[in-house]
């Protein structure tokens, strides 16, 4: 299961002739309606994010347990349980961080058809999201500090909807995000521009 290629790409497209665009050499974004992978750098980017949160847990755990031992005078069994819990959490984070980002990457894809932007994501709960081009209200390109290091960006598509009024598309290269944004902005002639 975890070794087969992305289920969308496997059936939809022939073997990719130019699989991975190398960093620093932006892939020409293709808006031809074919399924696109996220930028492969997204995996490393997610990993760094995971390491950061694991690091925070690794640092804060002993601090919190130490403070508890000092102030609360807990029993030794209790301290041991807390330390074990902390260790287990840390191991879980490390293990998760090693295999989750590639897995998520394999299950994420997007495509821009003449009608709609389509996003697929989710390892456990699989989402296929469609936003008709004519429903795009406005677009954000946001970049966190780690994303900036990797030359990545997140495109946030805003609609006039209620529950899902912003649809984020993470893990695009910055160039692709900008190009996709411009393409969506230029989209089909809309009767009305702004609104909500």
């Amino acid at each position: 299961m975890s070794t087969d290629p992305s289920p969308f790409l496997a059936s939809a497209a022939p073997p990719d002739p130019d699989p991975d665009p190398r960093p620093g050499e932006p892939a020409a974004p293709a808006f031809d309606g074919e399924m696109q992978r996220l930028d492969p750098r997204h995996v490393a980017c997610e990993r760094v994010g995971g390491w950061v949160s694991a690091g925070v847990v690794a640092l804060l755990g002993p601090l919190a347990i130490g403070a508890h031992a000092w102030l609360g005078q807990p029993s030794e069994a209790r301290l041991l349980a807390l330390a074990l819990g902390w260790g287990a959490l840390l191991v879980l984070l490390v293990v998760l961080n090693s295999f989750w980002p590639p897995l998520a990457f394999r299950h994420a894809a997007w495509r821009l058809s003449p009608r709609a932007l389509e996003i697929r994501r989710g390892v456990i709960v699989r989402h296929w999201i469609g936003v008709p081009r004519a429903r795009v209200q406005h677009l954000d390109v946001t970049r966190g500090p780690i994303e900036r290091r990797f030359g990545l960006a997140t495109l946030v598509v805003h609609t006039a909807g209620t529950h899902e009024h912003q649809v984020p598309l993470e893990g695009l290269s910055h160039e692709t995000a900008l190009a996709l944004r411009d393409e969506l902005l230029a989209g089909p002639a809309r009767a009305e521009g702004d609104g909500a």
């Binding site: 009608r115 709609a116 389509e118 456990i124 709960v125 699989r126 989402h127 296929w128 999201i129 469609g130 936003v131 008709p132 081009r133 004519a134 429903r135 609609t159 006039a160 909807g161 209620t162 529950h163 899902e164 009024h165 649809v167 089909p188 809309r190 009767a191 009305e192 609104g195 909500a196």
Partner: protein, 487 residues
Amino acid sequence: MAPEPPPAGWRRLHVSSLFFDAGRHAASLVLWAGTAVFVAARSQEAWFLVFLLLPLLEALVRFASFRYALTEEQLVLREGVLVRTLRHVPYARIQNIDTLQGPLHRLLGVVEVRLETASGEEPEAVFRVVSTAQLAELRAGVFGGRRAAPGPAGEERPAPFFRMSAGDILLFGLLAQKGLLVLGGAWVALHELDLWGALERRFAHEAEALEDRAQALDAWRWALVAVVVLLFLQGASVLWSFLKLAGFRIERRGEDLRTTCGLFTRQTASLPRGRVQYLEVRQSLVQRLLGRASVRALTAGGESDAERRVARHWIVPLAPRRELARILAEVQPAADFEGVRWRAVHAHAWRRLFVRAVLVLLVPVLLVTAYSPLLGALALVGGALGAGFAARARARVLAWGLGDEAVFLRDGLFARRMACVRFEKVQSLALVRTPLDRRARMARIALDTAGASKAAPRFVIPFLGLREARFLMRALERKSAALDFRW
């Protein structure tokens, strides 16, 4: 930016605005007056009473500075003295015009008007208050320009296509269970004004006597008390219903729907029927038994004051089921629930529902088993049978349909719900598969529409067969992308 003052000339609010605007702050006004009088009395300086005039002055300033004008394309508002605000609201953006007319308003021939666009909770413009002639002009200006058929407002009224009968208003009150709300309101009022404390002090002796007698009551008497309380609550609910809904009628002028209701305070809500984002027919079990149904429509305008504005919340609070098709044909021709070719969800949907019900029942059954194994076994068998029956029945009701203009959903075992979203109003689509869905080769499809609040009901078709879900997803994407969204 804004062009200079429009040619049509500025309009002002009605003079009685002074009174109503000051009255809006009645509570703080009383406090203010009390303080002013108190200080004046204590310090023996009568001139302090001048401060009494401040709120009036404020209303006067607001009245004097507020202007509006109807131009070709937009409504222009001007307000403020130090900070001047000039607001342009394009007519095409205005979602609905709501009005509120209390007995005092009616006496003076004025009305409070709210205009709403799709931008958030607060109304875009509040006119407190204008004359009814001005309201007619506003309506004609805002909604008139778009209409093909020239509908001179204020002249002959079109016959309403639905009037709520007194029996239905009574029934609505009985079913709405608003008695507690009324009681709660009364309690809060008593509490706020410290009448409660006063009552307690005044009747302390009687209350004690009552308590003694209450202890002497037997079960039958208690039941009697309960019945009396229940009757009282239902009576209050019916009263509420008549206050809010008396004379409920809905009429159509061209593309605009207008509902009117209220015994003393009359509310109206106007909305272009093209701006209904989501439409829903609901029937509770009792409503179904009595052959009644209610219709609800969501617009993108704010719902900051939903409790007060029954007129817009419900297109039809309660109507005989057989009149529904006729009413819906006027309200939203696309919402032809009778003509939908309903399609079932996955044949095994009932299994999922069954498992869900059994899991919910598991805890109580285990508790019963701990108490008595025999009862537990009985509860298990009974629960499983009931769950199976209910799951089968609900899976039979659960259905979806694709019309020429809209997508439909039907759901509910006891309380039925039929929903309709036009393709034009679909904002985004999602096909979602949980691990359970994937095991059973199912998927659910969720539509997102513009709506006022997060509490709005969602349009989700669960337990679709995977092939059908994919087909529906593609179809919806194609059909909604082909249409431009116009609020």
